[in-house]
């Protein structure tokens, strides 16, 4: 039986798609058969971040409406053999997604995959609700910023009341906190919420902290999931988070400000 994992946040622009792409790639690199589904119908972007935008023929809505078979819509990644992508539709609206349709897709994918990652759209409308409905686990992506933390709290409430597990009164969805765009220097200056503060407020287990990093934009420019950039701090932080997700113990890195010498302070030097 596959594990269904939703990547969600409530707020937009916090790094759901970046994290979905990185996580799916990371799990596949560890040999797990992984598929990542874009639930953002009408505003698909996972294809671009994964670098497969030119290979999209059919999408999730085509499969639900019976215009294409699931196998025809799945795009197999050329870099990591065990990774597949199911793109969202760019032309239809969100009403094209139905609970029964999504259930059928997840059941069929469950036979062939170990992990089904659902990249949720922002908001708490239909697309977001369907993305989290079948989840066994949730990765809640949060920026160290008030509106993002508030929306994460809201989405946690939705997970606890409106997911299939909640409705059937089964064991609740396992929640993981992933803090992204974290800047230890600004935390030290008192300009950014501390990691402990976010953990205290949301009170769910911390899966990882992804530092603010220029490599994330570079990765999206080229359509390479940032986890494949092993040189970058963000890529390494995602790799650590994937290890923790699979049960390994890993200390959190990149959460303390690097002590800069006078040379670096005078001449700058930015995070890789």
């Amino acid at each position: 039986m596959a594990q269904v994992v939703v990547v969600t946040s409530g707020k937009g622009g916090v790094g759901k798609t970046t994290s979905s792409a990185a996580f799916a790639t990371g799990l596949a690199q560890r040999g797990k058969k992984t598929v990542v589904i874009d639930f953002d119908v009408g505003l698909r972007n996972l294809d671009l971040i994964m670098g497969v935008e030119r290979r999209v023929v059919f999408d999730i809505v085509n499969v639900i409406s019976g215009e294409a078979r699931l196998n025809q819509a799945l795009i197999r990644d050329k870099r990591v053999e065990t990774l597949s992508i199911l793109p969202a539709s760019q032309t239809r609206d969100k009403d094209a997604l139905t609970k029964e349709g999504v259930q059928g897709i997840i059941e069929e994918l469950s036979k062939d995959f170990d992990y089904i990652l659902c990249d949720s759209p922002a908001g708490i409308e239909k697309g977001a609700l369907l993305a989290l409905y079948f989840a066994d686990q949730a990765i809640v992506v949060t920026n160290p910023e008030v509106s993002s933390v508030r929306d994460s709290d809201r989405i946690l409430g939705v997970l606890q009341s409106r997911s299939k597990r909640a409705e059937e009164k089964r064991e609740p969805v396992k929640e993981h906190l992933l803090v992204t765009r974290f800047d230890p220097v600004r935390v030290e200056r008192g300009e950014m919420l501390k990691l402990e503060d976010i953990r205290e407020i949301l009170s769910i287990p911390l899966l990882g902290v992804i530092p603010e990093s220029e490599s994330v934009l570079k990765a999206s420019n080229t359509g390479t999931p940032v986890i494949m950039d092993g040189e970058s701090t963000a890529g390494q932080a995602y790799a650590d988070a994937v290890s923790r997700f699979l049960g390994e113990e890993k200390p959190h890195r990149f959460i303390e400000a690097e002590k800069k010498g006078i040379f670096k302070r005078l001449f700058g030097g930015r995070a890789a």
């Binding site: 008030v146 508030r150 809201r154 503060d197």
Partner: protein, 95 residues
């Protein structure tokens, strides 16, 4: 920040992050309670206006409901503008 701080590599702590934490704690404490309950304020306002209107001729547009959510205590302030005695007499005379 004095120019010396540049060489010491220290800056005065800015309190905006602690303000963020405090504001979040207060707003979320209230939102978590209200999560499974509908917003009662519009209905409260309607019913209050109906009760007051039974005794005094009031303009329903001149009713203000203000809520201030605090950490330890919240206040609900309802302000109903009563018409001047002259206007009330005129309204009574017109009937």
């Amino acid at each position: 920040m004095s120019w010396l701080d540049f060489f010491r590599g220290q800056r005065k702590p800015d309190s905006s992050a602690s303000a963020a934490k405090e504001r979040l704690q207060i707003v979320l404490a209230h939102e978590r309670i209200g999560r499974n309950r509908e917003d009662f304020l519009p209905k409260l306002q309607q019913e209050l206006v109906a009760v007051v209107a039974r005794y005094v001729a009031i303009d329903p547009g001149k009713v203000n409901v203000n809520l201030d959510r605090g950490g330890d205590m919240s206040t609900l302030a309802i302000e109903i503008e009563l018409p001047a005695p002259a206007a009330m007499r005129m309204a009574a005379g017109a009937r």
